[in-house]
């Protein structure tokens, strides 16, 4: 009997946390109790970058992380992180379940990791405290908090706004006092962080639809019997359905809650100028033929 330790930065009850718990239950059944999973939620074991390193070294067995922290480690992961690369969350799911997803999973292996499955993180959109945003002109000169990532900073600059990287915990007060005008995130985080209390305008431009990934330490994976390895992979894939279902419910509930709180949601925007503005970003990050091919493959996926 062996307990696999899995790290997650999201709080208990979050779809990814529950999905990995569900995976643990399935795994326990499939292996007659030889393997089970314990989820260490809420960044108890460290932030995502730390969890990746711990998994690489085999300190812990699994980690659920977003692709962002991998961008500077594995170049293939930059492609799904590109702004407006996916047309919709459904498009993203289809691509990640197909050959492009497999190509990215394979790239993890050289970094002592096994890519088990891709999860959903919905789509990120801008919210702010000043005015409803309908076009790129509305974004001009506004200050938005983004994650500390070169690509996201470049994206916001290309849209004509100012990217202001800052720690997540300071965002609420900073919007409240006006240090920044807003931030960007998916509906569940917009709601659970309380940012909707201080930023009343939410524009669903869906600029980022970045999947998340569940990885296993190669050390751990190699120590399992072939039968158990297969069970792990099956349970991980099966957990995806659990995740998707929880995610959809959660997103719906969050949107309902913020709307009830009087948030102005802007949905009718023409995304074309936003997408066209991304040309320099694509030029900067899609450099090799391999990456260009990936972008083409994604765009060709129906």
């Amino acid at each position: 009997e062996r307990t696999l330790r899995s790290a997650d930065t999201h709080p208990d009850g979050y779809p990814t946390v529950e999905a990995v718990k569900a995976m643990g239950k399935m795994l326990e059944e499939k292996t007659n109790g030889r393997l089970c999973i314990e989820v260490f939620f809420g960044a108890q074991l460290g932030e995502e970058k730390d969890a990746i390193e711990q998994t690489q070294f085999g300190v812990i067995d699994m980690a659920r992380v977003s692709l962002g922290p991998f961008n500077n480690i594995i170049e293939e992961t930059q492609i799904p992180s590109l702004p407006y690369i996916f047309r919709s969350p459904d498009h993203m799911r289809k691509v990640m379940a197909g050959p492009v997803g497999q190509q990215i999973k394979d790239a993890f292996t050289q970094h002592d990791l096994i890519g088990l499955t891709f999860y959903d993180a919905g789509s990120r959109s801008f919210y702010n405290s000043q005015k409803p945003i309908h076009s790129m002109a509305d974004l001009a000169g506004m200050k938005f908090r983004v994650m500390q990532s070169d690509m996201f900073v470049d994206m916001v600059s290309a849209l004509g706004a100012n990217a202001t990287p800052m720690p997540y915990g300071e965002v609420y007060s900073s919007i409240q006092t006006g240090v920044i005008d807003g931030a960007e995130n998916n509906p569940p985080s917009y709601e659970s962080s309380g940012h909707y209390e201080v930023a009343k305008y939410y524009t669903l431009d869906q600029h980022l639809i970045v999947p998340e990934v569940l990885v296993m330490s190669k050390k751990t994976f190699d120590s399992l019997s072939a039968e158990d390895q297969a069970a792990v992979k099956e349970a991980a894939s099966a957990s995806n359905a659990v995740m998707q279902d929880l995610w959809n419910k959660r997103e719906e509930a969050s949107m309902e809650k913020v709307k009830a709180a009087g948030i102005e949601v802007v949905t009718d925007i023409d995304k074309t100028p936003f997408i066209e503005a991304m040309a320099p970003v694509y030029e900067k990050y899609v450099t090799s033929d391999k990456l260009k091919k990936m972008v083409e493959d994604i765009q060709a996926t129906e």
């Binding site: 390193e53 500077n72 100012n162």
Partner: protein, 175 residues
């Protein structure tokens, strides 16, 4: 023996002074970086993106350099209440045991800090564009200094020279 320690202490003293100066320059550089961040955002209405990761990295340097110098100068926080009830003869042994533990941790900082740096050497740090290995450089260098200063403490004590006690503001004698 005493002579060797005395001349070695001159070298470690210089090393400690150098580390403290570097750490102080780091603190000033960090001050300038964050001040620039505020100025750029508020006055120039533009955001600097390197200031946060840059100053966090500088902070790592001055913490580990400063912590190492603290081993030599004895300014770390400790509880030594229980030592009062022990016989006088046991104390140097326990102090040396403590120094061995601290030195061992310093050695761990060097060895495993290096291992971490190697692992992430191929990654680039966000917004700074330099190798992620630099993140762990302060751990390695600080650990090395902790090993050296812990060894000095053990040798000084063995030779009957004054060793700074933790929590005791009295400075180590210079030669």
């Amino acid at each position: 023996m005493r002579e060797f320690i005395t001349s070695a202490a001159r070298a470690t003293s210089a090393l400690a002074t150098l580390s403290l100066w570097l750490a102080g320059i780091g603190l000033c550089a960090m001050t300038a970086a964050i001040a620039a961040q505020v100025f750029w955002r508020y006055v120039l209405n533009n955001s600097l993106i390197w200031t946060e990761p840059g100053s966090v990295m500088i902070m790592g340097w001055f913490i580990f350099l400063g912590a190492a110098v603290g081993i030599r100068e004895g300014y770390h926080l400790s509880f030594d209440v229980l030592l009062y009830i022990l016989p006088e003869k046991a104390k140097p042994w326990l102090h040396s045991l403590s120094d061995i533990a601290v030195g061992g941790f310093g050695a761990g900082m060097v060895w495993y800090g290096w291992e971490l740096a190697e692992k992430v050497a191929g990654n680039k740090m966000a917004s700074l564009g330099i190798s992620d290995a630099f993140n762990f450089a302060p751990v390695v260098v600080g650990g090395g200094l902790i090993v050296i200063f812990s060894l000095e403490r053990i040798l000084r004590r063995a030779a009957g020279l004054h060793t700074a006690r933790f929590g005791d503001p009295e400075p180590v004698e210079e030669f």
